[in-house]
Each structure stands twice: as C-alpha cells, then as structure tokens.
C-alpha cells in the first residue's frame, strides 16, 4: 500500500464526516448523541493505535496500558485536586501516559516482531495487576467514579454534565487532535516511521537512528492513547480496571483492524462500526464478542485491508484501475 501525500481519497470523506458530526445533535436522539461521543473518544484511541500498527508496523497488545493510565490519572486527579479544570486533568493524563510510554518503550523496543507483541501483552498485564492491587489509589476492583467539572475557558462557560455540550466539547477537541494526527502522517517523523517499517536497515544507513524514531513514535501514540483514556473517563464519569485491561487492547485492535490499517480514516470507521455493532448486538445476543471475533478472523484471512481497504479496492475496481495492492498495510518482513 502506498500513501501518496495529500491523498484526496482520504480528505473529502473527512470533510463530509465533520459536517455530519456537527449537525448530528440536531436530528439524533440524546441517547445516540451520547453513543456518538463514545465513538469519537474511541476514534482517537484507534487512530493512535493505527499510527503504531498501520504506519510503524508495530503490533502492540498493550495499548490499553496507556489508555488506562490516562483514564486513571484523570479520575484520581479530579478526585484529589479540587477545582482542577478539565483541561489540566487531560494534560496531566497525557503527561503520565507519555512518561509510561518512555519507560516501557525503553524496555520493549529492544525487541521487534513477535517478541515485541508478546512483551507488550505482558506489560499490559503488569499495568493491570498494579491497577488491581493498588487499591488505595485506583480503588482496585471497585473503580473510581469521576465528576465531570464544568469548562471555564477564556470566559466561555460550558456545563459539560450536559450530554450535548460534552458531545461538542469532545467533537471539537478530539477532532482537532485527530486532524493533527492526519497532518502527522505527512510530517518528517510520520514518513520516517513508515520508512523504518519498510526497511529499517536502509534507514540506518541513510543516517536515521531508528531506535530513537521508534521510541518517539511509541511514546507519541502512548500519549494519544492516554488522552483518549482521559476523555473516556470524563465521558463515562467512571474509571474501572477494564479501562486498563487486555480486553481494552483487544477492543482497539478489533476497531483498527476491522476499519482497516491501510488508510488514515480506517480506524475511525472501525471505531464507529465497532461501537454501533456493540450497542446493537449486545441487545440482541450476549454472544456478540463471538460475532466480532469471527468478523475479525474472516478479515485477517480474506480482507487484510479492513473495511476501508475493501472500499478502496471496490472504488478502484469501479474506476477500472485493478486494485492490485489496495491496502496491504502489514507487509511484515519475515524475520
């Protein structure tokens, strides 16, 4: 899969999307607005994960450790620092996640491929264990409930406890972040990680310190995940160990992969599809995880490009340009 810089194919849907989202509360019932807020939060989480998986080719089974860290820091900070503003709570979370990213990254990134995947999983388990055991801070199995403070910013006063208001708050701030991520994929760093994935050895001989670049990216995505986690805590007004559990990693993996690692908006699509499916399916059957799993396997086997990959190749098929290498993101070099 090639990423032509400024690929219009990924811009226009983007604009349409934003328009639709801004209007959503006008025609959607409250419940769905709430659901959409969740989608937005997960979209950020998934995008951050895809920067790792789709762009850097690093398959991590530990992304939830950052997501969870973000969620917990927000919860704890808001509980213990009275009068803390939303913004600072989020920033604190990001800072914590960044720190976690640097430390774990330094340990993990000496390894690649399967070993890396395995280690990330183990580290996620470690974070989980700590969150469970460290009762005094995290509330262990009880979790922590979060009070969403109101937003006072440059004279603007917003009552975030109102669902629609919080929706717009999330949409705008998170939207901006995702926008930046899109820009990121065209920056020097963005391209560097891609090239390192394509051919690390050559990058070394072209003068790049690939360890540094990998660490930077790992930390960056960790910070983003932490931010998503923070929003998650605010949205949910509760933080429990499931926010830092391996299931939470699985969730983002499914979202990202179903949406498609090949294109930037794939994961966003994935977050939407996953959340809606989850919401609908879990009413109908409590077997919905099984269905998710099956979808996932089928995709790994037949549609490695995910939904977006499918769309792209269909579009190319229609356009006649046979989609030969439509979204084949994970060209993992065999060890």
């Amino acid at each position: 899969m090639r990423r032509r810089s400024g690929n219009p194919g990924s811009v226009f849907p983007g604009i349409a999307l934003v328009g639709g989202l801004l209007a959503a509360p006008l025609f959607l019932p409250l419940y769905h607005v709430n659901l959409l807020t969740e989608v937005i939060v997960f979209a950020l989480y998934a995008v951050s994960y895809n920067l790792l998986l789709g762009y850097a080719g690093l398959l991590s089974f530990g992304h939830a450790m950052f997501f969870g860290t973000g969620a917990y820091v927000t919860a704890v900070a808001l509980a213990h620092l009275p009068g803390l503003s939303v913004g600072s709570a989020i920033l604190l979370s990001v800072a914590a996640a960044t720190l976690a990213g640097v430390v774990t990254g330094a340990l993990l990134l000496r390894h690649k491929g399967s070993y890396f995947a395995l280690l990330t999983l183990a580290f996620n388990a470690l974070f989980y264990a700590v969150a469970t055991k460290w009762h005094s801070v995290t509330g262990g199995d009880d979790g922590l409930s979060v009070n969403r403070p109101n937003l006072d910013f440059l004279g603007v006063h917003l009552d975030l406890s109102d669902i629609t208001t919080f929706y717009y708050f999330a949409l705008i701030t998170v939207g901006a972040l995702i926008g930046y991520c899109w820009h990121f994929t065209h920056t020097a760093m963005g391209r560097t990680v891609l090239l390192v994935r394509e051919n690390e050895e050559r990058m070394k001989f072209l003068g790049y310190d690939t360890n540094i670049s990998r660490l930077l990216l790992f930390t960056f995505t960790g910070a983003l995940a932490g931010c998503a986690g923070s929003y998650y805590a605010l949205f949910f007004e509760f933080t429990s160990i499931s926010a830092i559990s391996i299931e939470m990693t699985t969730t983002v993996l499914l979202m990202t992969f179903i949406g498609g690692t090949g294109s930037f908006l794939g994961p966003v699509l994935g977050a939407l599809v996953y959340t809606l499916l989850h919401d609908k399916l879990s009413d109908i059957t409590d077997r919905w995880p099984l269905i998710m799993g099956l979808i996932f396997i089928v995709m790994v086997l037949y549609v490695p490009g995910g939904l977006s990959g499918l769309i792209v190749s269909i579009r190319e098929r229609l356009a006649g340009t046979a989609g030969k290498n439509a979204a084949q993101p994970l060209e993992g070099r065999k060890p």
Binding site: L30, H135, G139, D141, S161, F238
Partner: protein, 379 residues
C-alpha cells in the same frame, strides 16, 4: 397507565450468574405479588433485568442506556459492592434511585453514601458484628480470617476484628489473609491458615470464592470451623458435593430459609407452592427489599424520586425476616440478623443445610449514625 420500571442490576452471565439469577427471582416474585394485588399506585411494576457481569462499568453503561432511552429511574441490585458504588454515583448524577439487598460493603452507606442510594438489607458491619458476637459467645480464642481483596472483603474483615476486640480483648487474630477476587488455587492461603492453627476461620467470601475455599480446605488438612457470611447457600453446598466440608460451618444473614417465625413460614409455604422450590437466602433478600421499596413508593404516592426518597426515610416494614426500619441518617436499614449452623438433617434439602436460625436483634449490631462516616444526607 404505563408501568413502573425497576432495573435489576445483577450478574446474569459469568461466574456469579447463579447469585444474580436468584436475586432477580426474588425481585421478580415481589413484583408479581404486587401486580397480582393490583399493582403499585395502580400501575404494574415492570422488572428489567440488566446483566452487570459484576463490572461497575458494564452496569453503569447499561443503566445509562435505560435512563436515556426508557426513562427508567428505579434500580436495584445485590451483587458486587463495586457495582453498588458505581450505581450510587450514577444515580446521584442522573437523579435516580438505587437500592440494594446484597451489596454489603459498609462504605456504601458510609463515606460513599448519598441520598439516592438505599440499603434495605445487611451490611458488612452488621453481619460481621453478628458473627463476632457468636464467636465470643462460644468462647473461641484463636481466630483466623480470609477475605477477598476488594472493599467488601476488607470492610467485612475490619468490622469483624473491631467488634471482636470490643467484646473480648483476649481473642487472638492468628492470621488475616486477603486474596484476589476469583482466585482458583487456595493452597498457599490454606497452608498459611493451617500453620496459624486457628479454632475458627472467619470468611466473607461468596460464590465461587467461597466454594473453592471450603472445597480445597479439607483435603489439605484444614480442621478449623468456618464462620462465614454466606455459608447458608444451597447452591454452594450442592456445588461442593461433599457435606463433610461444610457441616459445622456457621452462616449469618438478614434472611434465611430457616427463620422460625410464623411470617416466614407463611412466606416460604406460599412461595414454594407458587414456584416449586424454596425462597432461599438471596431470593428472600431480593423479595423483602423490593417489598420494602414498594412500601416507600406507596407512601410517597408518586414515582417522583425526590418524594420517594423522603417517604422511605424513617419508614418501617414488617417482613418475613422481622421488622426493618430505614434509617434517615445513612439510608441503612436497621435489621435483625439470623445465625445458623450447617447440619446434615434439614427439612428442605437432601444435602446438608442450615438448622433453625437464632436472631440477633438489630440494636446489638447497630452502628451509631455518627460512626458511619456518612456526611451526604444533609437535606
């Protein structure tokens, strides 16, 4: 008129499925009885089961959905104090009402209390006090304790120790162990218990955690008598499939099948005729609490949450388990406790079960308002 919706937050899948289902059965039975008698304020009570998976986030997610979509504002549940804490917080935000008959962590009506949360049932304090009294009464000196490592377990243990010291300073706590929820291999803990050589072992474990503890205890050579929160559980005893492992254990509850009062005998008879099985502990607790809630709604004469809250505070209710009074200062019902020993012969099952229960009056186990740590009730 449309129905009065009551969301029942219980584990309906997963390890604690059987617990949740029995609570639900109790609530459902109460609802049926009410509806049969013409309903509540002339409206039918509609029970909406919610599978909490004993996960706070799952419970609140589903509850929120019901609030936003269906406008439900009465909820109840009995499993997982962690779920209770989360629901309590949610209710305060969404202006709903939650009551529990099984989430016993004292903190729920203590520092975590709020006006939207009621506990028509037992608490770790009450129950631990009751058991402590029994231990002292029977003159045991070497006591060990093991509990699940979450707020419920910790509070149960703390209260037990506190009361023990109060009643008889010479009693010795020879071991105090905590294990993660859902532990499978109790060997390392049992070995420690054995090494401590206690006469009785106190445990607030429940469900699978209690089953495995009792099951694995004997084979490893643990002789001591178990003093349990939830030993009077037929499903558990059946599950252990080894009466020897349970006989002699002690259970304390706010409701037991074997409460020897007329009121209870009548209730048990009626239920058994209707359902063909007995209203064991959880069913009874669910039933009694729901009836109590209904009383409050009746008194309020409306489903307006604020009104119902006011109505419930101070209200008393005579049920199968004696007289329950909802205290205004912390929304903790003042209830008598019932203690029974597991014996081989019993009128209900062909496996071992609790013998006739003896009552410990509410006053003896009451926690004074000022000690609960509940501040949030100021009107």
């Amino acid at each position: 008129a449309d129905t009065i919706k009551l969301g029942v937050v219980e584990p309906l899948s997963g390890t604690f499925k059987d617990i949740g289902e029995r609570y639900l059965a109790g609530v459902q039975y109460a609802a049926d009885e009410i509806n049969a008698a013409g309903g509540l304020l002339g409206r039918k009570v509609e029970v909406i089961p919610i599978d909490s998976e004993v996960k706070p986030d799952v419970a609140t997610r589903k509850a929120t959905k019901l609030i936003l979509k269906e406008g439900v504002n009465f909820f109840c549940g009995g499993t997982g104090s962690s779920v209770g804490a989360a629901m309590s917080a949610l209710m305060e935000k969404q202006g709903g009402l939650f009551f529990t008959y099984g989430m016993d962590a004292a903190s729920l009506t203590g520092e975590k209390c709020n006006r939207h949360f009621f506990r028509p049932g037992g608490s770790t304090d009450g129950r631990s006090y009751a058991l402590a009294q029994w231990v002292v009464k029977n003159g045991y000196k070497r006591v060990a304790g093991i509990a699940q490592d979450y707020s419920f377990g910790q509070e149960a243990m703390a209260a037990f120790k506190k009361k023990l010291k109060e009643l008889d300073p010479t009693v010795e706590m020879v071991a105090e162990l905590y294990h993660p929820l859902g532990t499978k291999d109790y060997a390392p803990y049992i070995s420690q218990l054995i090494a401590a050589e206690p006469e009785v072992v106190f445990t607030s474990n429940w469900g699978n955690d209690l089953m495995l503890l009792l099951k694995q205890g004997k084979p490893m050579g643990l002789k001591a008598k178990f003093v349990c929160y939830y030993a009077n559980d037929d499903v558990l005893i059946k599950g252990i499939a080894d009466d020897e492992a349970v006989i002699g254990s002690i259970g304390a509850e706010v409701y037991m099948l074997s409460i020897p009062t007329e009121a209870n005998k009548a209730f048990v008879k009626k239920y058994h005729e209707a359902k063909g099985h007995y209203p064991t502990w959880l069913i009874g607790k669910g039933y009694t609490a729901t009836m109590f809630w209904a009383e409050a709604v009746k008194k309020a004469g409306t489903t307006n949450v604020r009104k119902v809250i006011q109505a419930w505070e101070g209200l008393s209710y005579d049920g199968p388990a004696g007289t329950w009074t909802m205290r205004a200062c912390d929304h903790q019902a003042q209830v008598p406790y019932w203690i029974g020993e597991i014996v081989k012969e019993n009128p209900f099952f062909d496996h071992a079960y609790v013998a006739d229960a003896t009552m410990i009056p509410a006053e003896d186990v009451a926690v004074p308002c000022e000690e609960t740590g509940c501040k949030a009730m100021g009107k």
